[in-house]
């Protein structure tokens, strides 16, 4: 099973890294690794905006923000930034090995 390294910068500034199996979403990876601040309430159905992350550093370009994700991001807490994403829409692919996400 292929894995990639994902690092989250938590609200208190500390970092948490995990080896994440490719194919799943980064929201699921956060839940599996108990990342504080990622709730993932709706399980990835683009209904809640509780898996909001700010992409600090992506080793490859990320998929475009779809209109539905864009709409939900407007509701994210705290307010979205230019690199905000809903992590339920980001799939762990090999190109993203080493991605750095901040939990707002």
């Amino acid at each position: 099973m292929e894995t990639i390294s994902v690092t989250w910068v938590l609200a208190d500034g500390s970092r948490q890294s995990a080896e994440v199996v490719t194919g799943g979403t980064l929201m699921q990876a956060a839940l599996d690794n108990g990342i504080d601040g990622i709730v993932g309430q709706c399980g990835g159905s683009l209904a809640c905006a509780t898996c909001h992350v700010i992409v600090e550093n992506a080793p490859a370009s990320l998929p475009e923000i779809a209109p539905d994700e864009d709409d939900m991001l407007d509701m994210a807490e705290p307010e979205r930034t230019s690199t905000s994403r809903l992590s339920c829409q980001l799939v762990a692919v090999p190109e993203l090995d080493g991605i750095l996400l901040r939990v707002p």
């Binding site: 709730v39 309430q41 399980g43 683009l46 939900m72």
Partner: protein, 390 residues
Amino acid sequence: MSNAPAYEIDPKAFWKDPYPDLERMRVGAPIAYVPQLAATLLTRRDDIFENEKKIEIFSSDQPQGLMTVLMGQNLMRKDGAAHMAERKAIFPSVSPKTVKAVWKAAFEKQTGKALEELRPLGAADMVKDIAKRISGEALKSITGLTNMSWQEMDRVSQGMIDGCANYAGDRDVEARCHDCTASIDRHIDEMLPLLRKTPDSSMLSVQIQAGMPEASARANIKLAISGGQNEPRDVIAGLVWTLLTHPEQLSLIRTGGATWLQAFEEYARWISPIGMSPRRVAQAYTLKGVTFEPEDRVFLMFGSGNRDESVFDAPEKFDITRDTSASIAFGAGPHFCAGAWASRCLIAEVALPMIFERLPDLSLAGDVPFGGWAFRGPLEMPVKWKKRSG
């Protein structure tokens, strides 16, 4: 049926106040079989949160369920790709953007009109005269059934809810439910040609625009009505009662120390308007020593999970300053309430601030009984206010 430990309830007492029984279940038998409900209940927050997402085991597809039989198969009774496709189709009618750009102004206008008409009376029933109307008017806009009166909206909603809970098979209840769905279909028949000619952001219109089969579109409108009328009604009235009986928290909002939205989220946790969501076990499964068999009926007890003492400190206390992010009032999986953003706007941005602003010196004028465990809210609520300001 599952081999979960049995927990007996007195259905009448449970309806009046389910919280003591639910607390005993959480502590002693968090996964319990309740013979009076012929269902296995999940009562802990984390068990619900984790398992609601396992749709291959705890399925929403319940072809024999009363809701599907009486109202048609709506998206809440579908799973996986079929559910997501319809959800995507209705999204433009309830998305945060549409709520902000389209519905908020309508909510303000309707609520303002209702309060203006009631204000000279100096007294009313918060549930029946105010919350019911605000909720019904909002739902007319969102569904697209603007040809229906708010009173009829409430009647057909309640009729369907009663029909879906008619496990005893009472014929009168069933007949009333059929009458309500027929009324909705007549209103849809009348609106369809108009909306085909002039599309808008309503749920009926966006479904037609997306090319959804008419039977599905009709079933989803019925779902929106059965789930979109009594919950906002119950939260509007329930939250007014709560703030009147917790004046220190009301003044915290008025002095800017907390927000209406915080009050809304905390109320939805504290007295969840939807206390339960049913599932059908699709395949054998073992959870924490309890074995579920296919076709078992499972109730996800949101109202109990939201009072889970291992997740919330002093869960029985209403505290608008608490962190409610673990609340599962809107569900905790792919069936997360599609109307969440509309309800937040209607209640926290429009109804509550306007009620307290336009009805000066609002106070209670009698007893406020609450009822229900699957759906819970105040049954009646006499209130009075000062007729004129100054």
